[in-house]
């Protein structure tokens, strides 16, 4: 019975593809498909089921199922898909009709990944997702370079996945993804593949260009559900490994914590200096995925110690909450920014000022709430996730191994810095784009009802799971981390350990805060008509347009102070000046590319020089080598 919902989802997405010539119908079908995925995910979370299998060759099957883990991830992804689909009803009008085709196809790809029970199905879904996403990025003009970079990194992941699944096949004689089927090589290769997809440092460069260039609904898809597939992949890979409790995989945990923390730090640092509208949220994705990976890392380190099972479970829960927070908040952020960007036809943070008054309260509220969520503002879901992450790091003192303690301590410092810097960058983004002075700008006339509905939908999912976080924790199957203490009834309190280490009740925070807020609000409303509103004092004169503090200036001090990290260049000519910062990893890839092109040129001159004799010798050598390999 449960499997019917899954089949309906696939059917609706396929119909969405077939009806892509009719834009609205295509997006509405993807919306309906996503609703069914959402329901399927909820059912699968509690009642796992199988969808059946197809035998391709003896012992080689393609099969699908929905279990507790994939059910959770399907529900998370479907929430984002629902919003993206509704949003695209309006937003898709700015792009060609085939956008609906690739959007539905990419959702099919991601759904296949989450339901895959074997390597072949997984890799099929992975390729469908990668290629359709590549084609979606291409919907924007002048995005070929960025789309190709996305594809190149995507295929790099695929190569790593092929190696991983080949190692499973060598061990088990089939591609089944069941517990104990994994090998060390499988874990290394899949981790690499999924880290690339998550945009973990130093494999994050594809993510920036692609997010910036892609249409905003696609940016939301790339940043939230697509990188979510990387997170799911990591969980999946760990779930098929031999029992982590019995075998020693601490090395993996240490690497994950280290890379995750550095990635979080690097993403937050680069987000600070971002000037383009979508560059900042793109780097924020790197930061968030870094935090998720570091939480998973601590979970894996702790699971090897019988005394730290609670910490391991809490770290896993942290990773899932952070995943939920990132997916919902980032989808909202990209969609809201895309709305304002399209309405005002602007590209930079500094130019998109005052969307609250110029574009509308709903997209502005979307930017503000998602920004606040990433700034860990209580009681939003981002606050709950980041509190849990810090609690996880605080408890790393319980680890026995000195090396693990050192790595987690320094990683904790990096993560804490990242959280602080993220708040700084989000204040910059929301402060200017949503709340800044609009300078009399007017948004263009465009249909936006569906966009607003999508934004309201996601606002609900950023606010409600935060306020009712203890129930989310219970829903995810971690009821042991809810309790009642200090007058807070059970289960409204989240506890970070047993016995209690740290506690948080976003629900009661909301209640207390609301009560405290009601009286000043009532007082203000009752006297509102008597309140005289005046401009702030600005030296006795009204501010002219060129006297407003600019967004690049907001972060310039850090760019100047940290010039060795940002490789800051202050470019000052006779009449124009600006600050340039670079992501040093880009320089590395630039150098690598140049080096490869040089080698390519040398090889082409030797082998592909138009000389027939050389070609024949090359063919003969190649044939001989292949003959000896395959004999």
């Amino acid at each position: 019975m449960s499997m019917i919902f899954a089949y309906i989802s696939f059917t609706l997405y396929i119909l969405g593809i077939l009806f892509s010539f009719k834009r609205e119908a295509s997006y509405l079908l993807s919306f309906l498909g996503s609703i069914f995925v959402f329901v399927t995910g909820i059912i699968g979370t509690f009642y796992p089921f199988t969808l059946g299998e197809i035998e391709l060759l003896p012992k080689i099957y393609m099969s699908m199922d929905v279990n507790h883990l994939s059910g959770i991830f399907m529900t998370i992804a479907a929430t984002s898909w629902i919003a993206i689909s509704i949003y695209s009803v309006d937003y898709g009008k700015f792009y060609s009709k085939d956008m609906g085709l690739w959007l539905n196809l990419s959702m099919i790809g991601m759904l296949t990944i989450m339901m895959a029970k074997d390597g072949l199905t997984f890799i099929t879904g992975w390729e469908v997702m990668t290629v359709s996403s590549y084609l979606l990025i291409l919907k924007s003009k002048g995005s070929f370079k960025e789309a190709f970079e996305f594809l190149a990194f995507g295929e790099l992941s695929t190569v790593a996945l092929i190696i991983a699944f080949a190692s499973i096949f060598l061990k088990n004689g089939n591609f089944s993804l069941v517990q104990n089927s994994g090998t060390a090589l499988f874990l290394i290769a899949t981790t690499f593949a999924f880290a690339v997809k998550m945009g973990i440092f130093p494999f994050h460069t594809w993510l920036i260009g692609a997010h910036v260039k892609a249409p905003s609904n696609v940016s939301a898809l790339l940043s939230a559900p697509l990188t979510l597939m990387g997170v799911y992949g990591i969980f999946m890979a760990l779930s098929v490994m031999p029992n982590l409790y019995l075998y020693n995989f601490e090395w993996w945990g240490i690497l994950a914590v280290g890379f995750g923390a550095v990635s979080a730090f690097w993403g937050a640092l680069q987000a600070l200096a971002a000037k383009q509208l979508k560059t900042l949220p793109a780097y924020s994705t790197i930061e968030n995925n870094g935090m998720i990976l570091s939480a998973i890392g601590i979970s894996v380190i702790a699971i090897g110690d019988p005394n730290l099972q609670i910490l391991s479970a809490f770290a896993t829960l942290t990773a899932i909450i952070l995943t939920i927070s990132h997916t919902f908040s980032k989808s909202l952020l990209f969609l809201s920014i895309g709305h304002a960007k399209e309405a005002l036809n602007e590209e930079n943070i500094d130019d998109l000022r005052g969307s609250w008054s110029a574009v509308g309260k709903i997209p502005a509220l979307g930017i503000i709430l998602s920004g606040l969520s990433f700034s860990a503002f209580p009681p939003l879901i981002g606050f709950v996730g980041e509190w849990m992450l810090l609690e996880t790091f605080f408890q790393s003192y319980k680890l026995v191994n000195v090396g693990e303690k050192i790595v987690t301590t320094f990683s904790g410092i990096f993560v804490a810095l990242a959280i602080g810097m993220a708040a700084f960058s989000m204040v910059k983004l929301t402060g200017y784009t949503a709340l800044g002075f609009d300078h009399g700008k007017k948004s263009k006339n465009m249909p936006n009802m569906a966009m607003k509905i999508a934004e309201i939908f996601l606002i609900t999912f950023v606010v409600a799971p935060g306020i009712f976080a203890p129930f989310v924790v219970k829903y995810l199957g971690y009821g042991i981390f809810t309790s009642g203490l200090f007058g807070v009834p059970k289960p409204f309190l989240i506890i970070s350990s047993i016995p209690v280490f740290g506690v948080l009740s976003p629900t009661f925070f909301t209640i207390v805060f609301s009560i405290l807020f009601i009286f000043p609000l009532f007082f203000y409303l009752s006297r509102r008509k008597k309140v005289r509103k005046i401009d702030p004092w600005n030296g006795g004169l009204s501010l002219k347009e060129n006297e407003y503090f600019s967004a690049p200036a907001y972060s310039a001090i850090l760019e100047i102070v940290l010039k060795k990290i940002y490789i800051t260049k202050e470019k000052i000519s006779d009449y124009e000046a600006h600050i340039e910062v670079v992501d040093v990893v880009n320089l590395f890839y630039k150098g690598l590319k140049s080096w490869i092109l040089k080698i390519e040129k040398i090889i082409s001159q030797i082998l592909m020089n138009g000389n027939l004799n050389v070609y024949i010798i090359y063919i003969l050598i190649a044939f001989t080598v292949i003959f000896f390999i395959l004999r």
């Binding site: 030296g539 000052i572 000046a577």
Partner: protein, 412 residues
């Protein structure tokens, strides 16, 4: 090295006011002389801009500081163009303080005009008064006796001491050297009280007169001597401590650098010019200053300017004590001015605490018929605007305070 500090027209002929080797001269119709600051002086635009004019670019905006803002003591505006922290270009708007003083003073009796002159800029009141008096005396053919000149020198040096103390205390405050700043503020207040005892005015107003000066009695001279000794003794201890403070010195070192070539090009005089290594001081050309030691530094930064001012405090105290010693030996002061040949115009100047003040006046029927004033702050703001380029916002206060200039002195 000739420095152009004024340009005016008389009877259709251009006149340059030029300073060289401690002497001010008027160059009539100087067709063979070229000065880079000619246009700047000729136009006297109330908006003074830095030579660099970078106002565009990603994130570049005008950080307007003023006209009524905490941190800007007078009505004036600093337009700091920046992309964040780094100051790219500066405009200083003097227009809010413009009072059309030449029109207000013209047609008035010199004694009446002297009150206006003393009110141009409170903390340079005595320097303005002396420079104006000298111009009037020059025009009316009044020759000043040595006692009056000695007392004027005492007044000028007292003004220099309290101004320099104030500048250094403000620099200490900008560097959050609260203890040093508080002590220096105390010395500043003490010096003002000493002025009051000596001249009946905290800012030495109504002390100087055309052709004469109020004569203090022996007791006042003795009080002044004792007061100066105490202030200098206290200042020396504080200054030694200040120079030993790495935090303080670091904030001033290489901040708001004005090179010698730029200072000369602009027309800068006073301690700011001497801090770039140029030994130029109007006192140098006055025979009444015996054994004058002119202090110079070479870096042209806020630290050099502070060092020059600090050393000038010691030198000023030495001059005051010398003059008191001479005056105390004279039993009966004779201050009757001698008459000389009258002229229709007069030139008067003075080395104020922040540089050269020049008055060129025209008299007709014993009244001021025309007037040209050159003040150090006008050039100082051009210097500030250029010295701030490349510095960051937090250097702003050091730049402004180290120049020791005023909108009231610049915008006439």
């Amino acid at each position: 090295m000739k420095i152009l500090i004024g340009v005016f027209q008389k009877d259709g002929i251009e006149h340059y006011i030029v300073q060289e080797n401690g002497v001010i001269s008027l160059e009539v119709d100087p067709k063979n002389m070229y000065f880079e600051n000619y246009t700047f002086i000729k136009l006297r635009d109330p908006i003074i801009s830095s030579y660099e004019s970078v106002r565009n670019g990603e994130g570049v905006f005008d950080f307007r500081y003023g006209p009524v803002t905490s941190g800007v003591g007078e009505a004036g505006i600093y337009h700091l163009y920046t992309y964040g922290e780094r100051i790219l270009s500066v405009d200083v708007d003097l227009s809010y303080k413009s009072r059309k003083l030449d029109q207000m003073i013209s047609g008035r009796d010199p004694k009446e005009a002297l009150k206006f002159v003393e009110s141009i800029c409170g903390n340079f009141a005595f320097s303005h008064s002396v420079a104006f008096s000298r111009a009037v005396e020059n025009s009316l053919g009044i020759n000043i006796d040595p006692v009056t000149e000695s007392l004027r020198i005492v007044g000028i040096e007292l003004e220099r001491i309290y101004n320099h103390l104030y500048v250094i205390s403000q620099l200490a405050l900008a560097a959050s050297q609260k203890v040093l700043s508080s002590h220096l503020s105390y010395l500043f207040e003490e010096s003002l009280r000493l002025n009051k005892i000596f001249s009946n005015s905290r800012y030495l107003k109504n002390f100087n007169r055309i052709g004469e000066i109020k004569i203090p009695d022996g007791e006042k001279l003795q009080t002044l001597k004792e007061g100066i000794l105490k202030i200098i003794d206290d200042f020396k201890k504080l200054y030694d401590h200040a120079l030993a403070s790495g935090n303080f010195i670091d904030r001033l070192y290489s901040t708001a650098v004005l090179k010698m070539s730029d200072a000369l090009k602009i027309g800068i005089t006073g301690p700011t010019l001497r801090a770039t290594g140029v030994k130029e001081d109007l006192r140098y050309g006055n025979w009444m200053y015996e054994d004058l030691q002119i202090s110079t530094k070479n870096d042209g930064d806020a630290l050099s300017r502070m060092e020059v001012r600090a050393e000038e405090i010691f030198e000023s105290s030495k001059i005051i004590l010398q003059k008191i010693q001479i005056l105390q030996k004279i039993q009966n002061f004779k201050t009757t001015p001698e008459s000389m040949e009258k002229r229709s115009n007069g030139l008067g100047y003075c080395e104020s605490p922040s540089g050269t003040i020049v008055y060129v006046i025209e008299t007709k029927d014993s009244k001021i018929s025309d007037l040209y004033i050159s003040t150090p702050s006008f050039f100082g703001f051009k210097g500030v605007a250029n010295a701030m380029i490349g510095n960051v916002f937090t250097d702003f206060q050091f730049a402004i305070e180290s120049f020791g200039i005023n909108f009231a002195d610049a915008a006439l």
